[in-house]
Symmetry: C2
Subunit: 228 residues, 2 copies
């Protein structure tokens, strides 16, 4: 298997788009400021330099559906690559004071023409994003609300938390409203489960945010737990 040339090509490290993008001007967005929305669709690919950005869709009901939260060194706004002709319902909002870099689609096209590996890196980033959306569609299909909530907490803690020596992970406490917009439920139901998780000792609120016990949360995802 290791002599198979295909395997060698495929097992090489992923391309980092950042290695191929020149620095651009850094723009500041104060907390709650909109980066783009339906009225001002994204014309650029964005990189978070500092802060956090929530990307969501506005459902016809007026509900926000959170697609993901992006932090330092993460890209968002890739829908710009389709051009303005596409109908889009996505919006991006700074969740705290945030610094962003941006490259227009035209700039990206120019760089790709000179440095094709940028396109390969962006392609791999998009495939990872598709894979993640696939996981969420799977979770929406087969998981009940508490399981979806556990998966959300685990994912955010892995990406955004800092681990303590005892295995617990501390991170910003997202509002129950935001978690509800992510798992497709209501704030009230999320509050009910978050209180239950706290009573069970799976999480606790600290001065800085929230402390999670990932190993206990992972137990809850075993087939026999949290039956619908």
């Amino acid at each position: 298997m290791t002599n198979n040339p295909t395997t060698e090509v495929l097992s090489k490290p992923l391309e980092d788009p950042l290695a191929y993008l020149p620095h651009s001007t850094v723009c500041d967005y104060s907390k709650n400021r909109t980066v783009y929305d339906q009225d001002q669709p994204s014309t650029s690919l964005y990189l978070v330099i500092e802060g956090k950005v929530k990307v969501c869709r506005l459902a016809r009901s007026g509900n926000q559906v959170v697609m993901d939260i992006y932090q330092t060194d993460e890209f968002f706004g890739e829908s710009a690559l389709l051009g303005l002709s596409q109908c889009r319902t996505e919006m991006a909002i700074a969740m705290e004071n945030t610094k962003l870099m941006a490259w227009t689609t035209g700039q990206i096209d120019d760089i790709v023409a000179r440095r094709p590996l940028l396109a390969v890196g962006l392609l791999q980033l998009l495939v990872q994003r598709s894979e993640f959306f696939g996981q969420r569609i799977e979770s929406f299909s087969v998981d009940n609300i508490p399981r979806r909530l556990v998966r959300a907490l685990l994912r955010f803690s892995e990406r955004m938390g800092s681990a303590h020596e005892d295995g617990s992970v501390e991170m910003t406490a997202f509002t129950h409203e935001l978690l509800a917009q992510y798992v497709g439920s209501t704030r009230e139901i999320v509050t009910q489960y978050m209180n239950q998780f706290r009573r069970q000792g799976y999480l606790l609120y600290s001065r800085k945010g929230i402390i999670l016990r990932p190993e206990m949360l992972r137990e809850m995802l075993k087939p026999e737990s949290l039956a619908a």
Copy 2:
């Protein structure tokens, strides 16, 4: 607005990856044959020449969750672009006798180095796929089962149906099992709603498959219909 150079760049037509890919050998897959799965992960990007392919994820419960169905001139298997190192749970199955072309990741890398617009085309394809997955996550978040089913029927009929003069659309009748794997429900519940839709005159079964009335189905998506 029309004098804005950014707008001009963004409003140009999308790149067609097919224009940059050389022909590859056509492989035949008989009905129900697996193209790739967890044991034999995808190492290639595939193009459907003839037939239909179901791409799904195998949830831990053993349930299949259908991501999408691909037909002639559509690509699938893009997870190969991440390399074998990634943990993948996706599988692809021929739904009927199917002909496919395939390009390994190594071949794609080589072509991209010479023809960067292939990467731009694939990137746009992936962004469209992300946008579609985003729509599905939104639907799972805010729609009840009959609404999800109506959206599935409309989408499949738009992509795979042939229109009659009276506005109705005829297409292959997918099994209720498959529709259930797509909307995240059970076969029994899908059968119940499909029977209801038939009694209401929104669809009927024909010798060749199913005839849908898209304008009536679209009515059902209005906020006042199909309340949860």
